[in-house]
Assembly symmetry: C2
Homo-oligomer: 357 residues x 2
């Protein structure tokens, strides 16, 4: 990573950590376990990618990123509440090596009330549902507090409307589609899979960048050309990032990727890479891919997948698409005047997509 | 019920049914099952008590209730999302004789994807979590649409802030306390039980009435004397209603009450009535009440509870408190100028509390 980008990302983390840590919203929550759960994910740190997009988009249109601090914390807390509910739905026990929210709450209840496992699991899930419910509201409250001396109530109001009409429905529809795909007997169409990915990742990135621009311009108009350009840029890099992730899941380094190679194929996930391969392979090739479902892939399996995806052209097609989408993102960015923050957004895109293989 | 009150309540139901039915917010939700679940509770009808409080409070301060229609639908949808998540948490299968949201979704998945019971239950719960998440946002969106020709953006913005800072945390803390009481080895203090009841029921009623008044006055000031008076009035009738409910649960008519008498004692619920009784009875009386836990009370059991609560004075104390709280609510109402809507609010309180025994 470019050292300026690294420094500026570290600054964002510090700013957002402080806003979240010092925010009084969770303090009146009862009982203690719910308050703890509401604060848990937001105070765990992380890359703070969405706040960075928001703050730098504010700067890119000539605004002062300091005016956007509460909104930047809002998109981070928003991201977190969706993770708390997703982790319940996906039955995930760990998030970056630390217990997920419902597991933290389960263990709390087990100790505090000496519960049997089943009762503790129920307590953990119930309280994690409620924790996400409060976090959605906390995010909204932070967002509304964007209004101030440089940001009008009209602008903050427009951000709030858009959090419902653009962000919430799109993101949760994406999550619901992802869940439903597992139950459907047939694979989704490629366009539907792309739409799901956009909902799950692109929409919040787009909302973050567009909100930063609206704050920087102090405008309630989400159709302002700079607002649209930054929203489109962020949405595109979200999609390109996902395509790179598909490729890294097969061709990457298991250690740096963080999970076993080819796990998408083991789980039968309808990734764009898998769909591209199924569309290009003949029946015997498809059968080979299908044979990976439900088993831990061996080194030979990984080599087999790599050869199949290379030979049918799926790897190249997805790589080409990732590059085309990134180029498109950069073009959107270049409709803005050049300044330090536009450069940072460009560097960020390069960094996120440089993992391309 | 007074016939004017009945007619006016029917009008509210019709208005709110129409706003909810015609609202476009849920239309873009995917997949179909999530859209269906988001619309389910809000379109089931019901008393529409919270919208009535909101619309009539708007009228009571001299405003035009038509300006408050979206906000009235908002508090109803808000109530509904909390019910969807509560029903998951309480494992309730029916709500007024109709399957709860997670059960509707479970049955949908069972048919649509030919799932085994366990997988269908998981789908039902997961989708009901997501449905409540979208409904919280739908409520917020409806509320924000209060801004219009008679209601300023500043007023709508203030309503939105208060939905987070006053309503969400208070209501969900109440729900979480209610859940946690079941796990605690010791009974909560009376003040904590009262606080839980206020969170679960009083806060949304108060928010509804206060919001109607803010819209009617077109003020962002929730400390305006009329706004405070109406908020306090609604909060008090919520509490008095709950006390009456405790009494009806023992002394009422099982058929009109809708669930078996003394079920609070069977479930060991820390109602105000039960706490009043435990505080007044000697150890042998307490032991008699405790003996009801976990078993279906017989007619003799019901008579035994009635005699105990009569003789120790708990019934009288709770009845006196309900009356005192109602009187207090009426006093608040009488700080407002007399008009048709103030009369309706008064009639509503009389009706809700006339079930007193």
């Amino acid at each position: 990573m470019n050292s300026q980008l690294k420094n500026e990302l570290a600054k964002v983390c510090e700013l957002i950590d402080t806003v979240i840590r010092e925010d009084q919203f969770p303090e009146s929550i009862e009982p203690e376990s719910l308050k703890m759960a509401v604060k848990s994910y937001p105070s765990r740190g992380g890359k703070r990618l969405r706040p960075a997009l928001l703050l730098w988009s504010c700067g890119a249109v000539g605004g002062n990123p300091e005016d956007a601090l509460h909104a930047a914390a809002a998109v981070e807390v928003y991201h977190n509440w969706t993770l708390v509910h997703d982790d319940i739905i996906d039955c995930d026990e760990f998030r970056r090596g630390v217990p997920t929210s419902h597991v933290e709450l389960r263990d709390y209840a087990k100790n505090k009330f000496a519960l049997e496992t089943e009762a503790a699991v129920k307590y953990g899930t119930d309280f994690a549902i409620l924790a996400g419910d409060v976090q959605q509201s906390w995010a909204m409250d932070l967002l509304l507090r964007s209004a101030g001396k440089s940001v009008s109530v009209e602008t903050a109001y427009a951000l709030a409307v858009r959090m419902q009409t653009f962000l919430n429905r799109g993101l949760i529809s994406g999550e619901a589609l992802d869940v439903e795909f597992e139950y459907r007997p047939e694979q989704p169409a490629r366009s539907e899979a792309a739409h799901m990915i956009d909902g799950k990742t692109g929409i919040l990135l787009s909302y973050s960048a567009a909100s930063g621009a609206m704050i920087g311009l102090n405008t309630p108009d989400h159709k302002h050309p700079y607002v649209e350009a930054l929203g489109d840029y962020a949405r595109s890099i979200g999609y390109a990032f996902q395509l790179c992730d598909d490729l890294l899941g097969v061709y990457g380094n298991e250690k740096s990727f963080g999970k076993p190679l080819c796990s998408d194929f083991r789980e039968g996930k309808p990734t764009i890479l898998a769909m591209e391969a199924y569309a290009r392979l003949d029946e015997s090739g498809r059968e080979k891919l299908r044979s990976l479902r439900g088993k831990a892939p061996s080194a030979d399996d990984v080599n087999m997948v790599r050869e199949l995806l290379d030979s049918c052209g799926a790897r190249q097609a997805v790589s080409d698409e990732a590059n085309a989408v990134s180029m498109d993102a950069m073009k959107k960015l270049h409709t803005l005047p050049k300044n330090k923050y536009r450069d940072l957004l460009e560097e960020l895109a390069v960094y996120l997509l440089s993992r391309n293989v």
